[in-house]
Amino acid sequence: MRASIFVFLCLAGVAHAADDSVIQYDCIPNYANWGGVTALYKQKSGVTVPPDPKGSSVAMAALEREKDAPRADCAYYSGAIGVAASQKGLHQPYKPTGWDKIPAGLKDKDGQWWTVHTGTIALVINTKALGAVPMPKTWDDLLKPEYKGKVTYDDPTWGGTGFTFVYGINALKGGSATNWKPGLEWLKKLDANISRYPRESIYNDVLRGEVAIWINADGNGYKMKWVDKGPVEVVVPKDGTVSMPLVMGMVKGAPHVAATKKYFDWLLSAEAQAEFAKSFFRPVVPGALPAELRDKFLPDAAYAGVKNLPLAEMATASEGLKKAWLAEIGKK
């Protein structure tokens, strides 16, 4: 008994001594290859970045709750939510090495937030789970009754990808930051075919066939297809879609500022950017996408209809749109 207690304490001591860590909210191993990126960083620097399942909105909510005693060093969001977090004053400025390579429009002038990579909202389809039903080609195809129970998009009040899609479909359907009606009307029709609104990454559910159609970042679909060799196809709807910059920022009052700055610097390095690219998120640093990976994306023509969304407006509208979505769809 005494011996086992001793062993336990030793183990525990090891667990606790590893204090050279950076706490990142929203660090899902299987999203944008964060698992691979953090493992590589650990190998390079010895610094641990533990996994964290929070979606963008939850990460922001947690930062807000912990404002007076911050626990996290940094957070990763889909664009608008990260910008909203900056607007709430949850970030402190930092401009990591390589700042100038980030294209304009994908970073804050003061360094409150910046983009690390981008994705495109698309249909990720498990063809085996879809069965005999034909592949949808456009957004409106999804409203057809044959897709009943097969369509999924992330709860927009939880994660940023879901929010980007909801905002984006509103924009595509003719709405604006002040007029949500067209988007919500369309989403209400889609609701009839929705199996659930997941609050966590369902990457593996899609890969395994738990879910047939996932409205999500294209990169997740490519990874399923090329890396995990799943029966998965990516469809970029013909009637246009939106892009989604994924951003980061340093938490105001972060416990490990120096370590976090080093981490940020490294994330924009060619090495880290190429690691992100392994999961088919497009590096924000131009030219960092290796050629052999570029060929595995759909041809550029498929991406012709991709729109960029105004992040600042989206951020301002985010609370209102989330509430409206809850009232009209999520809580129906």
């Binding site: 336990f8 525990a12 899902i28 191993p29 990457y203 593996n204």
Partner: protein
């Protein structure tokens, strides 16, 4: 007497069916953890861990090893704290006459078990949100859950062995305070202390609600790691993590059961 036999046999068959219902999913999960096949959705996370049946386990230990260590530490700290507090508390409850104060204290102690775990976690978060992620707060949360087990087990043992009267008898025979503790108290409570320690370890090791809401990624526990694998990892990884969890939990439970205890409520 003989007429009730059919009922007992029927009941035993039902119990057997229910036990099968309880066991089969665990067996399926454990088996699939050892035989990850493409059908179960082998995913990119594992390619890095190499080939073979153990790769899901290697991945889990590499990715969530810190969670496992945190859980072990947390279980050890909170179970020891619960034992340190619960031994005297349970002893005085068991030895003291059943007064109203004693009854109220016992109810207060067991209240955290009666409440939904989420309520307890939320109450802690509301009051001590500023300390979220501190190991101390996690230990406090776990002690709330483990203390009732130690207090109850020890109090029951104290009542059963009629310690109060034995102590009186020992005093009349001239035993000093130290001798009474050495020869009476410790031997009669030893089993209860062991049982409740094992139970407390099991309860703390498996507790989800409190750590899920109170832990930051820096001190994630293994149940939160399980949640992570369930929501973000592939099936074989989730199955491997569950297998590791069971491997930690089942021996504790078996030990406690063997010593005569019983977990009252999971988390």
């Amino acid at each position: 007497m003989k007429r009730r036999r059919p009922l007992i046999i029927f009941g035993a068959v039902v119990a057997l069916l229910l036990a099968t219902f309880l066991l089969v999913p665990l067996v399926v999960v454990v088996v699939s953890a050892f035989s990850p096949s493409a059908a179960l959705g082998v995913s990119s996370e594992q390619w890095a861990a190499g080939a073979g049946a153990g790769r899901a386990f290697r991945y889990v230990l590499a990715t969530y090893g810190a969670h496992l260590r945190t859980s072990a530490l947390l279980a050890l700290l909170s179970a020891s704290a619960a034992l340190a507090l619960g031994l005297p508390a349970g002893l005085s409850l068991g030895v003291a006459p059943r007064t109203r104060t004693a009854g109220a204290l016992e109810i207060l102690l067991t209240l955290p078990l009666a409440m939904p775990g989420l309520t307890v976690a939320l109450a802690l978060l509301t009051a001590y949100g500023a300390y979220a992620g501190d190991l101390g707060l996690l230990v406090l949360g776990h002690v709330l859950y483990t203390l009732p087990f130690t207090v109850r087990t020890v109090a029951a043992a104290a009542r059963m062995s009629a310690i109060a009267s034995a102590l009186e008898a020992a005093r009349t025979l001239g035993a000093t305070r130290v001798q009474r503790a050495r020869y009476l108290l410790l031997p009669s409570l030893r089993r209860a202390a062991q049982t409740s320690l094992l139970l407390a370890l099991a309860v703390s090791f498996g507790e989800f609600n409190v750590t899920f809401l109170l832990a930051t990624p820096a001190h994630g526990t293994f149940p939160t790691a399980l949640y992570l694998t369930y929501t973000t990892n592939s099936f074989p990884v989730a199955a491997a993590a569950t297998t590791i969890f069971l491997a930690g939990l089942v021996p504790l439970l078996a030990g406690a059961l063997w010593l005569g205890g019983e977990p009252q409520q999971g988390a």
